[in-house]
Amino acid sequence: MNLHAIKAIYVYEMKRFFRTILESLLSPVISTTLYFVVFGAAIGSRIEEVEGVSYGAFIVPGLIMLSVMTQAISNASFGIYFPKFIGTIFELLSAPINFFEIVLGYVGAAATKSLLIGGVILITAGFFVDLDIQHPVMMLVFLVMICVSFALFGFIIGIWSENFQQLQLIPLLVITPLVFLGGAFYSVSMLPEGWQTVTLFNPVVYLISGFRWSFFGVADVGVGLSLAAIGIFFTLCLGVVWWIFKTGYRIKS
């Protein structure tokens, strides 16, 4: 295994992140604060508790998920799209590395960045609400799995995209609506019965539910089901990435 290459890609990508550290971290902190002001204070004050948890605390896992998923996707997709866009992809293709090493470098860096952002949001949330994480290890497992899986998904989007508009398309049109409708700000049990069934077709519901369970011990769906969902999503993404490098889809003629 070309460990030097993995390290080179990882360090290079992380340096890019730290070059714009203020913008990278400030933006999620500000948006989280705004969510707390709007949902936590303004609206949340009228909702007493959801499943035994104060509304302000209840939305924390969903807020973290929202940022972590979008950041993992945007970092990984930009990471691989940018070399394609400016032409430096030739170097990756001509280097003595395989697809797995390239993915480890790019996805590892994107997942680390989103993990850091998730941590910052968690700390920010701590200023607004009292958080008592019931299953910290499982919380970390969910967080890492989601960061890695969505970074893989972002990597696929970056390879698929042929312009900057396409790069934004899926995060904006698919991910954000799925997270908003996936129980980030409410419990599935709060929905009318028919919609409860419909919402179960949204894969993000399982992720948010599992993540929220690690905080408060309450979940919309079983924890095992949540873990299976993230496992399936991770495997699917890995399979697609493997196929991309096998066929050279949109990167190699």
Binding site: H4, A5, V11, R19, G87, T88, E91, A95, P96
Partner: protein, 309 residues
């Protein structure tokens, strides 16, 4: 000398049916500078891309240092440095970071002394902390070369390395390339400047429409295919070439002030002595005579035209 790159019946056909390479076979000897010449779209970049792993060949095989480019791609690619035609660099990155990145990508551990040596060799050391976007076009080309060299390749592909570079910098580049050759690096150079190939290459390969037309030692090629021209300046201009000199196929030049005689240096007899005698017999007084060797450019244009015909 042994071949460090061997290409055996390599072909590349794109999805739209375009055949960019047709059964290309070529041996590149260790330590030489091979100039790969061809018009636009001839297949030069496709050949380089196939050897470097950027394009997947449709058929055929190639080896670098004995390693197959597909089954032994790691070992093969580790020996190759590539300077692409297009300037492709991340504009916001510092020179030194991008060079160190390339070294890591090729599986080499960090070596600050080596990176410094490469950057100094390319007159980039003073610019090491500059962002790429702050550099001139010529400097960016040097950065590309530094990136290609920092993992100590034994084979270096230079795809149009001096395109868009001013004359002075081009000559500097030639010095760099000569220095690399002296250090034992095998260099494959594609260029549109035939003067460049003429000045630097040991061997010339001409490719057109995806096929190798010839591979030959430069000196042999120029001797074999090169023609010389004898220009005879006359004291008194003539209106036409006298009929008695018809057998020499002379051309009238400079409004009748000069006659041009084309001859083949590879022939046993050039006919110059007989021509000069005939001119004297005709009573023509000579002011001056000079000879001119046809350039590689003329040879190349002739070959490509012949192939197109």
């Amino acid at each position: 000398m042994r071949a460090i790159v061997t290409v055996d019946r390599l072909s590349k056909t794109y999805k739209d049916g375009f055949r960019a390479l047709r059964d290309v076979s070529l041996d590149i000897e260790e330590g030489e500078i091979l100039a790969l010449l061809g018009p636009n779209g001839a297949g030069k970049t496709t050949l380089i891309s196939a050897l470097c792993g950027i394009t997947t060949p449709s058929a055929g095989q190639a080896r670098v240092g004995g390693h197959d480019i597909v089954t032994g791609y790691r070992a093969a690619r580790a020996m190759i440095g590539l300077v692409p035609q297009e300037i492709a660099l991340e504009p916001f990155e510092k020179v030194i970071n991008t060079v160190q990145f390339s070294r890591g990508l090729f599986g080499k551990s960090r070596d600050d002394a080596l990176v410094e040596r490469v950057l100094r060799q390319l007159s980039l050391w003073d610019k090491r902390n500059n962002r790429i976007r702050e550099l001139s076009g010529g400097m960016k080309r040097r950065v590309l070369i530094a990136k290609a060299l920092c993992h100590e390749p034994r084979v270096l592909f230079l795809d149009e390395p001096t395109a868009g570079v001013d004359v002075e910098l081009r000559r500097d580049m030639w010095e760099v390339v000569r220095g690399l050759k002296e250090s034992g690096v095998t260099i494959i150079l594609t260029t549109h400047y035939l003067e460049e190939a003429e000045a630097m290459a040991d061997r010339i390969a001409v490719i057109n429409r995806g096929e190798i037309l010839l591979v030959e030692n430069k000196a042999d090629l120029m001797r074999r295919m090169g023609r010389k021209t004898l220009q005879i300046d006359l004291v008194q201009p003539v209106e036409a070439v006298p009929d008695t000199l018809a057998q020499y196929a002379l051309e009238l030049a400079h409004d009748g002030h000069a006659l041009l005689y084309h001859y083949d240096t590879s022939g046993e007899r050039t006919g110059i002595t007989r021509l000069l005698q005939a001119l004297a017999d005709e009573g023509l007084n000579l002011r001056d005579i000079e000879t001119r060797q046809s350039s590689l450019e003329e040879i190349f244009v002739g070959l490509v035209r012949e192939d197109a015909a």
